[in-house]
């Protein structure tokens, strides 16, 4: 009785091992079905989807103009104080009136959680999410960025 059970157990174990090994054998002979991506080597062909949230950037057109009015809606929407808007007053050349405008858009990439709330909050669509990734740098201070490009100004007609 004992011997019979013993042989039955061994046979059952061999069979279940063979079932599992069949899968291994299958992939060994069908290596087209293996979908491993060779990540650092495939950088050239790697395309991230357009909605991928990699970092916040400000959209500038070819005349180095943007749509940011300095309204600070994005700063208020951000849950972890990633954005700091520093404003200044521009003097209109024709009328001589003072007008509030953006001086510096400070963005702390090291604090950003890519939640997209700032982009949603912006009334003029001045900022968007870029598809960049691999943000590692040697010095933490490099992660604090100014999003408006030097010399850029607000586009005509954006209120």
């Amino acid at each position: 009785m004992f011997l019979k059970q013993y042989i039955k157990d061994v046979w059952g174990a061999m069979k279940s091992l063979a079932t599992g090994m069949k899968r291994t054998g299958y992939y060994f002979t069908h290596h087209k079905e293996i979908i491993t991506e060779q990540y650092p080597d495939n950088r050239d062909t790697l395309v991230l989807p357009e909605r991928f949230k990699g970092e916040v950037v400000m959209i500038h057109d070819e005349n180095n103009e943007h749509a940011c009015t300095g309204c600070t809606a994005c700063e208020l929407a951000c849950p972890n104080a990633t954005i700091k808007i520093i404003t200044k007053f521009d003097v209109d050349a024709e009328t001589g009136k003072k007008k509030k405008a953006i001086d510096t858009f400070v963005y702390h990439l090291e604090l950003c959680t890519m939640c997209n709330l700032c982009v949603e909050a912006c009334p003029t669509g001045a900022i968007k999410m870029a598809q960049t990734f691999e943000h590692s740098v040697f010095d933490r201070s490099q992660l604090t960025k100014t999003l408006n490009k030097p010399g850029s100004k607000i586009r005509e007609g954006v209120e």
Binding site: I35, R51, N116
Partner: protein
């Protein structure tokens, strides 16, 4: 008296377990009292990744606090966000457009598959099988790709917002989900071949970590842990939200009460999720994906509660509002905490070798336990 389980006597060995399960690398500290090979007591020590999320949420606005909750149960991020969004919507008495409801349910079920998939791989790895881990990730990867395309992220999506969802689905979404269903159906028998039917696996799971239906209820376990002991606890069935009451799917119940029963519940639950997705993917109604909301949300004075079925069980969200833009108090009832409380019961009196199998079938995600 000296044989009594749970009291330390001379000659007992007190050991710390881990890293074995992905959770025991240092975020969950298990102190085990052993008599020979027999477990006398298991004491989980928590607090290693406590971030006081509930307290933090009190200083965030209703739009902002939802995204923080993805960081609790990061494998069910969508469903966490969903439960919170529903609670805010209850307070605002918002009507959610039908399109948004369907998209939300689709995302929830994809999340559930991805979460169970990862659990399945990790479970097999706990027991020493490495290949299933990679196979599980292969399928999970296709779900992550779909998420990435529509929500813009792979883990912490922040896609559910009060009133609906943040963006409409990507034009490729339906095609890719259908492709995934095809792929998944061709692969699911591999799981049985590799793991379920394996003799070693069965011997290590059956009769291990037994918990009766009464004990499941008294510990407050929910999700697959409760359903493995035959306790019907599916929030989607009992307190249907969004469009779950119009869908055809079964609540998976097993009566084995052991680790193997909990394993089978999760395996079969994935198939039910597939069934739900199949019913919806070609029937996404046209219309808005977000209801009109004010830029600054203010909940009326009062208390609001909502709950959703995450991959691990019932997640409850309780908001006390004083009428301002931020909640006065928030409390989450997370499934992992109650499930972990049953661990001592599961393994007491058993062998140390069975601890990992029993713990694995609880599907612990530590930030969910220790917010």
């Amino acid at each position: 008296m000296f044989e009594e389980v749970g009291t330390t006597t001379e000659g007992d060995l007190i050991i710390n377990v881990g890293p074995q399960h992905p959770a025991t690398h240092g975020v969950l500290h298990l102190v085990i009292t052993l008599n020979g090979e027999t477990i006398k007591n298991v004491e989980p020590h928590l607090g290693y990744i406590h971030r006081s999320i509930e307290k933090m949420c009190e200083s965030l606005t209703y739009r902002q606090f939802i995204y923080v909750t993805s960081r609790m149960d990061y494998l069910s991020a969508h469903i966490n966000n969903h439960a919170c969004a529903m609670c805010v919507e209850k307070g605002l008495q918002l009507e959610i457009p039908p399109r948004a409801q369907v998209i939300r349910v689709l995302m929830d079920e994809l999340t559930r598959i991805a979460s169970h998939e990862l659990w399945w791989g990790a479970m097999a790895m706990d027991l020493g099988a490495f290949t299933p881990f990679f196979h599980a990730f292969r399928e999970r990867e296709s779900i992550n790709d779909i998420m990435e395309e529509t929500c813009g992220a792979r883990l912490t999506m922040n896609y559910m917002v009060p009133g609906g969802v943040m963006h409409d689905i990507h034009p490729n979404f339906q095609r890719r989900v259908k492709d995934f269903l095809q792929l998944y159906k061709s692969k699911i028998h591999e799981y049985d071949e590799m793991v379920t039917g394996n003799v070693i696996f069965q011997n290590r799971m059956k009769g291990v970590g037994v918990i009766s239906a009464e004990d499941v209820i008294s510990y407050g376990c929910t999700g697959p842990v409760a359903r493995g002991s035959g306790v019907s606890s599916d929030t989607r069935k009992h307190y249907p939200y969004e469009i779950y009451d119009k869908l055809e799917f079964d609540e998976v119940l097993e009566t084995g009460c052991d680790s193997f029963a909990r394993y089978m519940v999760r395996l079969r639950e994935m198939q039910q999720s597939i069934r739900i997705i199949e019913q919806l993917i070609d029937n996404i109604p046209e219309g808005d994906f977000q209801a009109k909301t004010k830029a600054v949300l203010k909940l009326p004075k009062g208390e609001f509660y909502s709950k959703a079925e995450t991959a691990r069980g019932e997640l409850g969200v309780y908001i006390v509002s004083e009428g301002g833009t931020t909640p006065y108090r928030i409390k989450f009832r997370s499934p992992g905490f109650s499930n972990l409380s049953a661990l001592n019961h599961l393994v007491k009196g058993g062998k140390i070798g069975d601890l990992i199998a029993a713990m694995g079938t609880l599907d612990l995600v530590i930030p969910d336990i220790d917010r």
